[in-house]
């Protein structure tokens, strides 16, 4: 298997896809949303507790590919404790990273451990896998009803 694949499936991503963190519905939640990618059938739900604009608890459920699952897992680890505005800033930077719209080295400093997703930019068809959890999180924060879709 080639270099691009090694970049895509970093060790951290493989680890999180096999053993997703926060793969549960937290006891107390006041926001949740469902997200799906109708093209591949990936489906996840994000559940969180928002306290004075801060995410103080978050978990997710569902089934997806390695990229999708790892992204959801790492996202929940990263956004816990952040306020809504910071989540939006982080999402924008993450999105630039996976779509190849930012310098990977610069981005790495800005997104922390989410930098392992830089390899996704070489696989445009997989961007939706990496961003599904984030779109779902944003829908949950916005209190939008119904499922979000990547299409």
């Amino acid at each position: 298997m080639n270099e691009a694949l090694r970049d895509l499936y970093q060790e951290v991503i493989m680890d999180h896809s096999r053993k997703p963190r926060n793969f549960r519905i937290p006891e107390h939640t006041n926001r949740s949303a469902e997200g799906m990618n109708p093209l591949c059938g990936d489906h996840i739900s994000v559940h969180l507790h928002l306290k004075e604009h801060h995410i103080d608890e978050i978990g997710f459920q569902g089934a997806g590919c390695a990229i999708c699952t790892a992204s959801a897992s790492l996202m929940t680890e990263t956004v816990r404790g952040l306020d809504e505005a910071d989540v939006q800033i982080l999402f924008d930077k993450f999105h630039d990273l996976v779509t190849g719209h930012s310098d990977p080295l610069e981005a790495a400093e800005q997104v922390g451990k989410l930098a392992v997703f830089a390899g996704v930019s070489e696989f445009p068809i997989r961007v939706k896998c990496a961003t599904l959890a984030w779109h779902t999180l944003r829908a949950a924060l916005a209190g939008r009803e119904g499922a979000v879709s990547t299409e």
Partner: protein, 436 residues
């Protein structure tokens, strides 16, 4: 003696789909010249990711032979004109080519030319039959019967009819092998059933449905029968008169022809009683502002300038398949399918989705703990094209309890070496994800 048995079994396999348990593990070879056939398809010699392309996504669309491409180019470069109107040379020529194409496509199905209507493909075909034929005939209390293995294109048009008319949609279940449960199907059939619409060959599991029997049973209760031949035409001999069905539909791009063209067969008498689907030019006899009289079938159902080049290309594609022999193609694809299934079964941690006794060359599977999307991305890096996802058959995915599958689907030009490369690729995928 063992040899004799083996030969007899192979003979049996030649007659019906999928007697795949008795085949020795030798690389299958077709009766036709495979190397030459592969040269006839320009795209097959291309490289993907620096490796020779292995194209195993034929259930999504097939590749195109040069003779088909030439026919389309010849039409546009030397024969292009509108059909059925002009008195000038080119218009007469184009009309003749278009109507010759209709004859070829009709012959391919064992039908008469006036029984064949050109459409964009199976989706438009099913929508046309649903709206023009079924909708005026059904209301509350009437039933439409489909199966659990249908493509979304044979589900959604009927849900629309249900909403529009109040008719009931019934779904015949499949068993764990992915076969239609004929006991349940028979039970669901009744005098209330107005139409039975089922797939001839499943695009997910490759299951070959007993469509002649289904037709016979449906006719016994007075229901009409629509068969979705998208995965069958050009993979197995089809004779609509022998099947006895009321409608048979297929898409050109899955039969080595162009996209945007397909066909519906129906007996002429059915076409005659059906109101038109689209109104416009070419489908009329006389138009006044008070009243319009329609042209006769099949023209009544081909409003507007048709896909002339598409029809000509489709005919050329079907002529290509006919020249190889549809039966020879089926036999070879059956052997290659057995070879693929044997190889897949020898892999650890694999589940084949659909193990029908009567089957064709669409083979779905899932690998333990590895999502089909990841499989697809890794195989793509090896130059191997397979389909991953729900294959527009979400209810069937649900039936088998999987969100998606990886599907390899065979065409007449695939080789045993390509199957070997797929199997090697899958082993690499399992190594990569640490699930050897």
């Amino acid at each position: 003696m063992a040899g004799a048995i083996r030969i007899r079994n192979r003979k049996v396999m030649h007659q019906v789909h999928g007697m795949n348990t008795s085949l020795p593990k030798v690389a299958p070879k077709p009766q036709y010249d495979l190397a030459r056939v592969r040269q006839d398809f320009p795209i097959l010699s291309s490289k993907v990711r620096d490796q020779p392309l292995v194209y195993l996504d034929n259930a999504a669309t097939t590749q195109k032979p040069q003779s088909m491409l030439d026919a389309v180019a010849r039409y546009y470069s030397a024969e292009n004109s509108n059909v059925h109107r002009g008195v000038h040379y080119l218009s007469v020529l184009a009309t003749q080519r278009y109507e010759d194409a209709r004859k070829t496509v009709a012959r391919f199905l064992g039908a008469a030319p006036q029984e064949l209507v050109f459409v964009r493909g199976v989706t438009e075909a099913i929508n046309m039959i649903a709206q023009s034929f079924v909708r005026p005939r059904v209301g509350p209390g009437d039933e439409i019967l489909i199966s659990e293995m249908e493509h979304h294109s044979n589900i959604v048009p009927w849900q629309m009819i249900r909403e529009q008319t109040g008719a009931t949609l019934r779904v015949a279940p499949v068993n764990d092998r992915g076969e239609l449960r004929m006991d349940a199907f028979t039970e669901l059939l009744s005098e209330r059933t107005r139409i039975v619409s089922v797939v001839h060959i499943s695009n997910v599991t490759g299951t070959v449905n007993p469509v002649a029997e289904i037709t016979r049973l449906a006719h016994e209760v007075g229901a009409h029968v629509l068969l979705d031949g998208a995965q069958a035409a050009a993979h197995t001999p089809v004779n609509v008169k022998e099947l006895g069905c009321d409608f048979y539909v297929f898409s050109g791009h899955k039969t080595y022809g162009p996209t945007g063209i397909g066909a519906i067969y129906a007996p002429f008498a059915l076409w005659e009683e059906m109101p038109p689907y689209h109104g416009g030019g070419d489908m009329i006899r006389l138009v006044t502002f008070e009243r319009t009289t329609y042209n006769e079938p099949p023209y009544k159902f081909e409003a507007g300038t048709p896909n002339i080049a598409g029809a000509i290309g489709l005919a050329a594609a079907l002529e290509y398949v006919e020249a190889l022999g549809t039966l020879q193609v089926m036999r070879y694809e059956d052997e290659l399918t057995s070879y693929l299934l044997d190889g897949l079964r020898s892999l650890p941690g694999i589940r084949i989705i659909g193990e029908a006794e009567q089957r064709a060359g669409a083979v779905s599977f899932v690998l333990d703990s590895i999502h089909p999307h990841d499989v697809g991305t890794l195989l793509d890096q090896e130059g191997i094209a397979v389909r991953t996802g729900h294959h527009c058959a979400q209810p069937l995915m649900k039936r088998f309890g999987v969100p998606a599958t990886t599907r390899a689907s065979i065409g007449l030009y695939n080789t045993a070496e390509e199957i070997d490369r797929l199997l090697d690729g899958l082993t690499k995928v399992q190594e990569f994800f640490g699930h050897e």
